[in-house]
């Protein structure tokens, strides 16, 4: 059972790496494709446990939902950038930084990472520390802090992607 899962993980890793190789290389002749296959195999052998740790259900759907999430995130990031730019360029610098902590029920490593990085990228907040489920966040203003603790928009969205308990 374990072996089968391992082989499956290796296959996925190999495919991802090979696709990445073709995108990088841009040559589609035999020599470069064979070299790409060999190189992907080497990297798969070296670090197959690195890219995908555990196989859970619905990987493809997760990926799909994640790409939608990326689109939403991009708009948020644009907002974040303009927000910070506004505050920075404003002569009085309307900022009121504070540090807040909150708990999240997310358990998956990747989900936690996505959440932390999203917090860093969205308006006015930066993840300082992740300790278990406790996030320590530095917020530029009290509004953004309230967003994070009360509305929990990002957290809900991340939870929806990874089908984790909200």
């Amino acid at each position: 059972m374990m072996d089968k899962e391992k082989v499956f993980r290796q296959c996925i890793t190999f495919c991802v790496l090979f696709a990445f190789w073709i995108l990088l290389s841009g040559y589609l002749d035999a020599f470069h494709l064979i070299a790409g296959a060999v190189c992907s195999a080497i990297v798969t052998f070296l670090s197959y446990d690195s890219l995908i740790t555990k196989q859970k259900k619905g990987g493809v759907f997760k990926l799909l939902r994640f790409s939608f999430y990326c689109g939403w995130l991009f708009i948020e990031i644009l907002r974040a950038g303009s927000d910070v730019a506004y505050r920075v360029l404003h002569p009085h610098m309307p900022i009121d930084p504070q540090i807040i902590t909150f708990e999240t029920p997310l358990t998956d490593d990747i989900a936690r990472t996505v959440l932390a990085n999203s917090i860093t990228l969205t308006p006015g907040t930066i993840t300082i520390d992740v300790n278990g489920g406790t996030y320590t966040v530095h917020a530029l203003t009290s509004d953004t802090a309230r967003d994070l603790t009360d509305d929990r928009t990002i957290e809900k969205r991340v939870a929806r992607i990874f089908l984790d308990a909200p």
């Binding site: 190189c39 936690r112 992740v130």
Partner: protein, 141 residues
């Protein structure tokens, strides 16, 4: 010592891509920027990243000091072996075009140069990694 979960996860995800990029740099040395040395250095830096994010013991698990020794020797033998092969087939040292392969002269030269680059890459990777191991940790006397 381990870093926190965010850094560990991101490093875990990024390491295979760094490695494949390093190999890409080695293979495309002739047609693009780069070559054996640069690729080897980037490959070594992937192990350094593992060492930073997961602790040195994890990096050692992936590539131990003995493996480093072996690999650095292998790479050099590959390089010198091609050179000596050229001598055996009547050319001068590293005169690639003398190796009798069923290809034309330029293709042979390109292929052999590729192999030499790979040898250099392996050696550089192993040597850089072992230098990092040596400098980063206090060895037990």
């Amino acid at each position: 010592m381990k870093q926190d979960v965010v850094i560990r996860t991101v490093c875990r995800l990024i390491v295979p891509f760094i490695q494949i990029f390093a190999l890409y740099v080695i293979i495309h040395g002739a047609s693009g920027a780069g070559g054996g040395f640069q690729g080897g250095v980037i490959f070594a830096s992937s192990f350094i990243l593992i060492g930073i994010a997961f602790g040195l013991s994890d990096a050692r698990q992936r590539i131990s000091e003995k493996a480093n020794t072996l690999l650095s020797c292998t790479g050099l033998y590959l390089y010198a072996g091609i050179g000596v092969l050229c001598i055996v087939f009547g050319g001068n040292f590293l005169g690639y075009s003398f190796i009798p392969l069923p290809l034309d002269s330029a293709a042979t030269r390109g292929l052999m140069a590729e192999i030499v680059e790979i040898g250099i890459g392996i050696t550089v990777m192993a040597v850089m990694t072992s230098i990092f191991y040596d400098i980063a940790v206090k060895e037990d006397m």
